[in-house]
Symmetry: C2
Subunit: 442 residues, 2 copies
């Protein structure tokens, strides 16, 4: 297939395996882009937007713009304002995702899609999501201010409810299940209710769905949320793929009894069993080489009283790896460990799968475009997996996907201390801008 045909034939391309398809390996060699060609966004303006956004949902515990909360709505209103002040007319699709289009010169081409999200986790930070969303607006604005007309339409998107399970992008690719619709966000609202809350229209939800071939490609800028770039002293991360994820909910049932009157050898202590399991999960995951991670992040005890031996503990395990087989293998290992610990502590373990997402690989041609853009801007870079989930993993199922990472100070994210330096914010947006131009011209 010819190089220049790649984007204008994206319908055919999207139907192909996205990862490492040899036909596209030489699509964007990068050699054609030189330092002299590089353009830059208005970094000060972009950083100013992020600073202004920091007050929304700010609490003593951190940023709380949990999906469908009042702070989320305030954050979305702020974002709609940025579109408008930048000269764009944002619209909401039926899912409540925010879109704005810049028309291209060739009506036969499918749109290039760029963006991210603005909702946050509980007690999170100000960069996870807003960086990529605002940078996408800034890229579109810079193109207009410089009089650069793309051949492709450029769609800027701000997905709704990323942190609750990449919901907005999942609706967009038509992958929602009944369980997804019934999922309760940390604001207490279900996704079904949330669609209406953010201004979508549940009755028309089918109109929000896009299929393979509808999108030329998707590019997302995001903070790394880990310490790899900082440790390596690199400015740009070229994401190779997003790890697959499985959320297990583990219910451990023991027997409530008096904490003083029950001898140690007569107990069925659900908390002790949960503690042994948490340690065992950690040991198992660290006991093998590889990038797999597992986290016990949520844990609730019943009755949760100082002088009562716990009857029940419900905890979650968040398990991730780039290989689906590794996720399956560790799930099996956790279940075996649970059986052993259950037998030793006279408790029972039950497993339930809450969330599941497949690994999603970036398109090699888009990785090349990002790399060439970084080179043209004189920025150091390295390829790396994304340990965090992103809307990009959903969109990857219907279109070629690429992601750009910039360093998180101290590797910190999902925390009030989440921070990315102003120069890195600007570098990331610059790479996104040049990658969009390169992809459009390819």
């Amino acid at each position: 297939m010819r190089r220049r045909d790649f984007l204008s034939h994206s319908a055919a391309l999207a139907a192909l395996p996205l990862a490492g398809a040899p036909a596209f390996a030489g699509w964007f060699p990068g050699a054609g882009t030189h330092r002299a060609d590089a353009v830059r966004v208005n970094g000060a303006r972009l950083n100013g937007w992020l600073t202004a956004f920091d007050r929304i949902g700010r609490t003593p515990g951190g940023i709380n713009r949990v999906a469908y909360s009042a702070a989320d709505l305030e954050g979305r209103a702020f974002t709609l304002g940025l579109f408008r002040e930048s000269g764009f007319s944002p619209r909401l699709d039926a899912a409540g995702n925010i879109f704005a289009r810049v028309e291209g010169t060739d009506p036969s081409l499918k749109p290039i899609l760029i963006g991210s999200h603005v909702d946050s986790v509980t007690d999170g930070g100000n960069f996870d999501g807003p960086l990529g969303s605002f940078a996408a607006i800034e890229v579109a604005r810079t193109l207009r201010e410089r009089g650069v007309r793309l051949r492709h339409p450029l769609d800027v998107v701000v997905w709704q409810n990323e942190e609750g399970g990449t919901i907005g992008s999942k609706i967009f690719i038509g992958a929602m299940t009944d369980a997804d619709w019934d999922k309760v966000a940390r604001s207490g609202k279900t996704v079904r209710e949330g669609v209406g809350i953010v201004g979508g229209n549940f009755a028309e939800i089918a109109s929000a769905v896009r299929r393979k071939g509808d999108i030329a490609c998707y590019l997302e800028l995001h903070i790394e949320q880990g310490g790899l770039l900082e440790k390596a002293g690199r400015q740009i991360g070229i994401v190779q793929g997003i790890v697959g994820l499985r959320w297990l909910e583990v219910t451990i049932t023991g027997f409530a009894n008096h904490a003083g009157a029950t001898p140690m050898d007569q107990r069925q202590d659900a908390m002790l069993a949960a503690a042994k399991f948490t340690v065992a999960v950690n040991d198992a995951v660290r006991g093998e080489p590889g990038r797999q991670v597992a986290t016990v992040g949520r844990l609730t005890v019943t009755p949760n009283t100082t002088n009562v031996i716990p009857a029940q503990v419900v905890l979650t395990v968040d398990l991730r790896d780039l290989e689906h087989a590794t996720i399956d293998r560790f799930t099996g290992a956790f279940e075996r460990l649970a059986r052993e610990i259950g037998a030793a502590t006279r408790t029972s373990f039950q497993f339930k799968r809450l969330v599941e997402s497949e690994p999603a690989l970036a398109h090699p041609a888009l990785m090349d475009a990002i790399q060439s853009s970084a080179d043209a801007l004189g920025l150091s870079h390295q390829r790396m997996p994304s340990g965090a989930g992103h809307d990009a993993q959903e969109v990857a199922r219907i279109a070629p996907m690429g992601m750009i990472f910039v360093p998180s100070v101290g590797g910190i994210s999902h925390s009030p201390k989440e921070f990315t330096r102003a120069e890195d914010v600007a570098h990331g947006a610059d790479v996104l801008l040049n990658a969009v131009i390169a992809v459009d011209r390819a």
Copy 2:
């Protein structure tokens, strides 16, 4: 000191160490009580009261008559009704403890005090407290019905808020601290507020306090709340003492970070540290012979989100033993373990002592009186420590104390499955009745 002087000189006695004072070892030899002398309560009536009481505060999770809640007030109203239908005139002291007096024949003698409590833990059972309270009313009623006049006044007491830290009896002995008054019961009310809620009078609280010498002795019937009697096939437990207790609140501080993007070796996971500590506490306590117990019963995680590495865990350790020195030794061991685990997981541990109670030993003469009564009734028995705390441990600081245990089926307590068989309920009340008579005559 002469045998018959014991109770009439209780002021002097109470000033002496209560445990194993050789002068009283032979006070109540028991040989004088024979099977023919034994009297019995109306067991069917007592069991009927307990059955009727079972509906108050009953929820799907168990009995919830948490101090100062609506169900607690309903339970107290029911109890006041039992006093009245039994022919007694209950009164509330300034603490809100319920008292009823049966006058004795010798006005120079101090009262014999019997009773327990009717409040419950969260999701508890129907026997922990109500058994001893209702049995005390039944004992007083049986004495009256049989025309038995005691020499001593007999005071029946139902203490307020036992489960929140033996509050009613602690007020009674004048041992409340500011921290005790500010303690928040599981109903959300402070003890200070609770006094008014249960009908006491905080302004007059000093009038509720009794001193050494004011009480001849205190006897309490209670369910065992452990499985020792059932396992040994014994009908009556003669309590040797109540273990001392220390409640530690441990705050473990790590660092919130992204569960997917943070490599396992770059984490400061407060949950992992809490799990290692919980396992270590259990191993330490089980690693030595002895009856010491330690329980992690309450644990809360921040932010408690599936995809965030926990920043903080607050947990409690409930540590008990008959020896104060053992409690101190294990506290030190836990602190050492915490330092090691903190260093290994890059987290920090802070310890705070929430509650502290000294071991309280039963008076040998009262143990003998209980044993002789059980013998006279033809009931099997054994001496044993109480692993649970009781109001008796407070009263022991101003008067000789004795406690009677009856078996808990399956050793289960502080649970909706808490149960004591009707015949054991009656046996316990019978032993209390005969012990009161024996003590009065001694």
